[in-house]
């Protein structure tokens, strides 16, 4: 009789014990595979967001958060970065330097590979030393103080330093409108930005033969009366006023200035260029001049599509903070796609140099400062209108 041998296994002598052993082995193998499969689920890439999400300056922070959120949701819908989902951990710096450092520390403890933020220069000035010590990269959407320009640190931004912005306004005021006397109003709540802005404007305006009649600073509070402030400005004999403040305050100041002297030429820093400014300024917003790298009236396909997605997601038009935060997130994703090692993120970004923005490509120089074009923008019919 010929014994059938099947893969070397003689079936005729299989015992119950062997059957049980084989079944047990199969079950264990299945369990191991399942566990291994579960454990192989890829861990998320953690990214932090730090900005002012509450308070009167929270328009910038919430817009920035929304822009970053949209970028993260889109990258995850596309499969993440090399199969790893991106987790955005959001923290509110409450527009307080100490809180800014605290939230950054908290984010670093949670293992973020980089932080998108902060949204204002004062917060960034407080946070950058921590980032340098910890060796974690910070990418700011909107910080533009020149105090952080030209430095080899762990700080990169997608908004150019503000030197070109006040220069453009000064040039338009002096040469375009013929204004020779300007007054300047600064909010001390973000001095690293507002005073830097005022100084740059003074220098440019002065070089063109203009004269700053008054520089008035304020800090929002119960004792701050914008009507008095407006009166002071008007009394300085200026023909135009530069306001370096947040959207709500700039809007209120515009209303007061308009009541004092409807013929004043009003110029605002880019910080205020949100819908909150138009709402709070009312009719006084008409004709106010801004200089921004963000062209809300752009017809570029990338911008139109982004705008459509943002409106669908958040029910509102994206402002410059949302666009900048989205761009900042894309820069980070581009670097992480090349290498998830947080130690070389900055080097990767500086090496790549050129990135795709919502409104077009832009370059980041060796010190992490971008090179972008500025537009002259005014308010008309309840909206922002690009002049050039």
């Amino acid at each position: 009789m010929t014994m059938k041998r099947y893969a070397g296994f003689d079936f005729s002598v299989i015992s119950n014990a062997r059957l049980r052993q084989a079944a047990l082995c199969w079950v264990l193998a299945v369990l191991i595979v399942l566990v291994a499969g579960c454990s192989k689920e890829k861990s998320p890439l953690k990214i932090g967001f730090a900005g002012g999400l509450t308070g009167r300056y929270s328009d910038l922070g919430t817009s920035g958060r929304n822009g970053a959120t949209l970028a993260v949701e889109e990258i995850n819908a596309a499969g993440g970065i090399h199969g790893r989902p991106v987790e955005l951990i959001v923290r509110d710096d409450q527009q307080d330097p100490e809180m800014a450092v605290q939230v950054d520390n908290d984010l670093i403890q949670k293992g973020v590979v980089a932080i998108i933020g902060h949204m204002t220069s004062d917060m960034a000035m407080a946070a950058v030393p921590l980032m340098n010590r910890k060796g974690v990269l910070m990418i700011s959407p909107t910080v533009s103080t020149t105090f952080l320009s030209g430095k080899d640190d762990d700080f990169i931004r997608v908004t150019p330093a503000l030197s070109e912005e006040p220069k453009k306004l000064a040039d338009y005021a002096r040469k375009g409108l013929g204004v020779s006397r300007m007054a300047i109003i600064c909010d001390k709540a973000n001095r690293a930005y507002t005073e830097d802005y005022a100084d740059a404007f003074k220098s440019c305006f002065g070089n063109m033969g203009g004269h700053v009649t008054a520089t008035i600073t304020f800090t929002h509070g119960a004792d701050t009366h914008f009507d008095i402030l407006a009166h002071e400005v008007s009394a300085s004999g200026c023909e135009g006023v530069l306001i370096a403040a947040g959207a709500l305050d700039a809007g209120m100041i515009c209303q007061q200035l308009h009541r004092e002297n409807a013929n004043l030429h009003i110029f605002c820093s880019g910080w205020a260029m949100t819908q909150d400014f138009i709402q709070s300024a009312g009719r006084a917003a008409d004709g106010v001049m801004f200089a921004q790298f963000y062209d809300q009236n752009s017809r570029k396909d990338t911008f139109m599509q982004f705008k459509k997605r943002f409106e669908a997601r958040f029910g509102a038009n994206p402002d410059f903070a949302a666009v900048a935060a989205y761009d900042a997130a894309q820069v980070l994703f581009a670097a992480l796609s090349q290498s998830p090692d947080p130690q070389i993120l900055k080097a990767t970004i500086l090496k790549q140099k050129r990135f795709h923005g919502v409104e077009g490509d832009f370059e980041i120089d060796a010190f992490g400062d971008p090179i972008r074009r500025f537009f002259l923008i005014t308010v008309a019919n309840g909206g922002f209108k690009t002049l050039e």
């Binding site: 059938k4 079936f11 119950n16 929304n66 709500l248 138009i278 009719r283 997601r313 958040f314 509102a316």
Partner: protein, 995 residues
């Protein structure tokens, strides 16, 4: 036999199917129904809660709106003209109803007229920038705003704008109230409520940070559905946890009120129920399996014991022990197994004995198999060796097991393998048998030849294979090859030798002839195989062939000369050399004969003999002619002088002229004789024979109009170096001979006739080495002239003698017999040759071959030199001749011409006289042939005295090489004896004028 499942596993499987499976199915169905129902109830309850809460919020908002509407109605009575002052009624309203954070009264342009709490710097503010204000102003209906940042507080706020007659009343809602409403839902089950606005921004919820940070929840699918107008309960995943959201829309604002509960907590009771039910089912299954297992073991154990029993039997252990008591069926089965084991044991013993016997027999056969010297092998149908005997393995220098599995072609040259396999197997398949000899190589690369026979064999059990035997025939093959090579070598020698060879057997029958025999005699071996050689003519012709059997018996060799007729009738002179071939037992088995053709050799010998005879005759004729010329010189000279005497009578003059004429004829005869003897060339020049032929054609035609000459000349004929006069003599003699042959009776030379034709042809030919003998000419370029007549022809006996002097076929007195002799001599003297072909009744052809030259034909100088009579005979002529009669008559002739003459009869006197008187001696007439010193020596001596000496040679011989040489050394001319006064005068004139 395919493997089946065991009884145990089968029974277990059936139990599982029959008992556990229904239990599990029922349990699963129940659980599913239970879960679905409970889930529905729970989600339904949450939805009702959400609806209730949305209704409450709606009522709150309605109260809020009602209040503002009331305020709007009342705003007309409020004082708005002093915006710098607070309005007390508004303040009271604000205090009373904590729904608002502030109230504002706006004019129709959206400017703040008054507000509570009152802030001076906010009065007069333009709120038209707010969309909800613009909408209220344009729509005329209350408008709720989206959440926005309050410029006053900097916190998120929602406002309601209610149009009034004087403007708009706005109120910023206290979001804390909404927060309080939602807080009511929070319970121990983890449920909580969240409210979002029309954009998905959180406006109330358990986490105030979400409100203050204006977190947007539109990323939650459920929220998107709600904002699209759908109400209900939804399951979704949020931050890694499954959630249940029950959503209701606040009618007045479109906000969503969502009650959220983690699924794990919402359906906790369901999960607990599931676990409980599964535990019960599992417990029942375990108990059932345990009971089943017990009964199964009791039933299957005896079967397992039987299994052990069969295993022992299969291992050869036939000692079977009785099994313990069991079921009767199993006990009967066990007894049968025992009986079977005993039967198997007996049969195995019988088989073992048979096997041993077979093994012994097989060993015997194998010993025989391995002891034979021939090869014995078996192969499968693909040619692979299945077995080989010791002899075959030893030949191949392998062990027998090393050869098994190989095909024989593995030991052949690679190029032959494939062919052998195809041929070998194909033949076997077709005929069932194959035999032959193949070449292969042993392990040590030794070449062996194997003679084999293979046949297809069928064994008793139907197996088909190839069996064969073989033998090493290497030595035999090598010997055969050597013999074949030797045979080829011998055949090559026999075939390539130029001598005809024949091999015949002892009876004289031809067995072999070589190609030289066929080429010479014309017969092939096929025509003569086994036959005797054709009888040869001649006295010894038959004797040779008849003698062959005798020679074979005696074993002697012989040679003889005879004549043999070829196949085409030619009779050849042959030399036969015969030698016996030694066969076995030292008896000749045949003869080998060589037959050398002597025909050409004999012809050449005859031609040489003829040429030698002709030369001897020529020398004799030349001497006779010379002496006659001297005699005729004396006669003619005297006659010339006598004819100058005017005192003679007419009769005497006539008789002297007749004598002169006959002397001329005699001189012509001697000239012909000299032409035959030494040919004689006086003036050799490059000549185109075509022109010469045409010239003499004209001359002959004028004299023989009854003979027609047809010309067929090569237009580009090479030149020949000849004496034109001599050659003309040749042509005339040939024409005359042809005319005699065509008109033996003489004919009528004046009557034109075309019936008798002489055809003259010329061509350029290359004479090769093989054709020059016996004509004694050099190979090279020649001009061939053929003269063909249609005369009576000649037989061989006449043809052979045609060039002999004095030989003629004409009647006595009609021919001298010197014409063709002189032609022969002249042609020979010019380095050529002449041949004749003729047959009686078929005419005759004369072939002349003259060597061609490269020199150009020069036009002859036709100017005539004046005779000596025209010259002033001032000077002395020295006459030198050893014959007195020549001196005497010569002196007289010269003196008659006016010359002063001095004579010398020998060379010494001649030189002496000239040396003394060379200044006055203008000419020396010098005889060529003198005793002691010849003309050449005297000339040289005279020339030594005076290099410009004028010498005229004279001789009874015609001009020859010696005379030519003297002429080339500076002698001025040659005059043949006999000559008359006029000839002497003209020649002297030629010399002295040319100088």
């Amino acid at each position: 036999m395919p493997a089946h499942s065991t009884l145990k596993s089968t029974l277990t499987a059936y139990f599982m199917m029959a008992a556990c499976l229904p239990l599990m199915l029922a349990g699963t169905a129940f659980l599913h129904f239970f879960s679905v129902t409970l889930e529905k109830e729970i989600t339904g309850r949450n939805f009702l809660m959400a609806k209730a809460m949305a209704g409450e919020v709606n009522r709150f908002l309605s109260d809020y709106r009602s209040l503002l509407e009331y305020t709007a109605e009342q705003s007309g009575t409020l004082s708005l003209q002093a915006p710098s002052e607070p309005d007390s009624r508004l303040e009271a309203m604000l205090l009373k109803y904590s729904l608002f954070e502030n109230l504002k009264l706006l004019d129709t342009k959206g400017i703040v007229r008054t507000l509570v709490p009152f802030l001076q710097d906010q009065t007069g503010l333009d709120m038209s920038g707010y969309p909800f204000v613009r909408k209220a102003m344009s729509g005329g209906a209350p408008v709720w705003s989206d959440v926005y940042l309050s410029p006053r507080s900097g916190h998120p706020v929602i406002s309601l704008a209610v149009p009034s007659r004087s403007g708009i009343v706005t109120g910023d809602m206290n979001l804390g109230i909404l927060q309080d409403i939602t807080q009511e839902i929070i319970n121990a089950n983890g449920a909580y409520a969240v409210m979002v606005d029309r954009d998905g921004t959180v406006i109330a919820g358990p986490d105030p940070v979400a409100v203050s940070q204006r977190v947007n929840m539109k990323d939650v699918r459920m929220v998107r559905h709600g904002l699209a107008g759908e109400e209900g309960s939804f399951q979704y995943r949020y931050k890694g946890e499954n959630q249940i959201g029950s959503m209701a829309i606040v009618p007045q604002t479109g906000w969503l009120l969502i009650i959220i509960q983690p699924e794990s907590r919402a359906f906790a009771v369901i999960h607990q129920g599931k676990w409980l039910l599964w535990m019960v089912i599992a417990a029942i299954a375990v108990v059932a399996l345990a009971v089943f297992g017990y009964f199964l073991r009791k039933a299957v154990a005896p079967l397992l014991r039987l299994t052990d029993m069969t295993r022992k039997i299969s291992c050869g252990d036939y000692h079977i022990e009785s099994l313990p008591d069991s079921y009767p069926e199993i006990e009967r089965l066990a007894d049968d197994f025992k009986f079977m084991a005993e039967a198997i044991n007996a049969r195995e013993t019988e088989l073992r004995q048979s096997r041993e016997q077979v093994q012994r027999s097989e060993k015997r056969l194998r010993d025989i198999y391995d002891s034979v010297s021939d090869f014995i092998y078996t192969q499968d149908m693909n040619g692979r060796l299945l077995s080989v005997n010791r002899a075959m393995a030893d030949l191949f220098e392998y062990a027998p097991e090393e050869l098994v599995g190989h095909v024989v072609s593995d030991f052949m040259k690679p190029v032959l393998r494939h062919l052998f396999e195809i041929e070998y197997l194909a033949q076997l398949q077709a005929t069932g048998r194959h035999q032959g000899v193949f070449v292969c190589y042993t392990k040590n690369k030794r070449k062996v030849y194997i003679d084999y026979v293979s046949t297809i064999t069928r064994s008793n059990d139907g197996e088909i294979f190839i069996s064969g035997i073989g033998r090493d025939v290497t030595e035999r093959m090598m010997a055969e090859r050597a013999i074949r090579e030797k045979e080829v070598w011998i055949r090559t020698i026999l075939e390539t030798t130029p001598i005809p060879l024949v091999v015949c057997d002892a009876a004289g029958g031809l067995q072999f002839i070589n190609s030289a025999f066929t080429a010479v005699f014309g017969w092939t071996l096929d025509a003569l195989q086994g036959k005797s050689m054709p009888r040869s003519s001649g006295e010894n012709g038959g004797t040779v062939m008849e003698k062959i059997p005798e020679l074979c018996r005696s074993g002697q060799s012989c040679t003889l000369e005879t004549r043999q007729e070829a196949k085409d009738g030619r009779v050849l002179d042959i030399l036969i050399a015969a030698a016996p071939i030694q066969g076995s037992h030292e008896k000749p088995s045949g003869m080998v004969l060589s037959l050398m053709d002597l025909t050409e050799k004999k012809k050449m010998e005859a031609s040489l003999l003829h040429a030698q005879k002709m030369e001897a005759i020529g020398t004799l004729a030349g001497g006779v002619a010379h002496d006659f010329n001297n005699l005729m010189m004396a006669i003619q000279g005297n006659i010339s002088l006598m004819l100058l005497d005017s005192g003679l009578s007419e009769t005497a003059n006539r008789r002297l002229r007749d004598i002169d004429h006959f002397v001329q004829q005699g001189a012509s005869l001697t000239r012909q004789l000299l032409g035959f003897a030494k040919g004689g060339k006086y003036e050799v020049r490059p000549v185109n024979l075509n022109e010469l032929l045409r010239e003499y054609h004209d001359i002959f035609s004028r004299t023989r109009k009854d003979i027609c000459i047809r010309e067929d000349y090569d237009a580009v004929l090479w030149n020949v170096a000849v004496d034109s006069g001599q050659m003309g003599q040749v042509l005339m003699n040939l024409y005359i001979n042809a005319a005699h042959a065509m008109l033996p009776e003489g004919g009528n030379a004046a009557e034109i006739s075309h019936g008798n034709t002489i055809r003259v042809c010329t061509e350029n030919v290359w004479v090769k080495d093989s054709a020059v003998y016996p004509f004694e000419i050099r190979p090279g370029r020649y001009v061939h002239v053929s003269v063909t007549d249609t005369g009576v022809g000649m037989d061989e006996s006449i043809r052979r003698r045609i060039f002999e002097p004095f030989f003629t076929t004409r009647e006595m007195g009609r021919g001298t017999g010197l014409g063709l002799a002189s032609v022969y001599g002249i042609v020979k003297n010019h380095g050529g040759c002449i041949d004749v072909q003729s047959q009686p009744g078929r005419g005759t052809v004369f072939h002349l071959y003259l060597p061609a030259v490269e020199s150009l034909v020069l036009m002859p100088d036709r100017t005539e030199a004046p005779g000596a009579a025209a010259l002033s005979c001032d000077g002395v002529v020295l006459l030198v001749d050893d014959e007195e009669m020549i001196l005497d008559v010569g002196r007289q002739m010269l003196e008659r011409m006016g010359w002063r003459v001095s004579t010398a009869s020998n060379a010494y006197d001649a030189v002496s006289i000239y040396s003394e008187r060379h200044a006055e001696i203008v000419l020396v007439i010098l005889d060529m042939i003198m005793p002691e010193s010849g003309g050449g020596v005297v000339f040289d001596q005279l020339k030594a005295i005076d290099p410009n000496v004028n010498v005229l040679l004279s001789s009874g011989y015609s001009i020859d090489g010696q005379a030519q040489a003297i002429l080339e050394r500076g002698c001025r001319g040659f005059l043949q004896k006999p000559f008359n006064l006029q000839e002497l005068n003209r020649k002297i004139g030629e010399i002295l004028v040319k100088g």
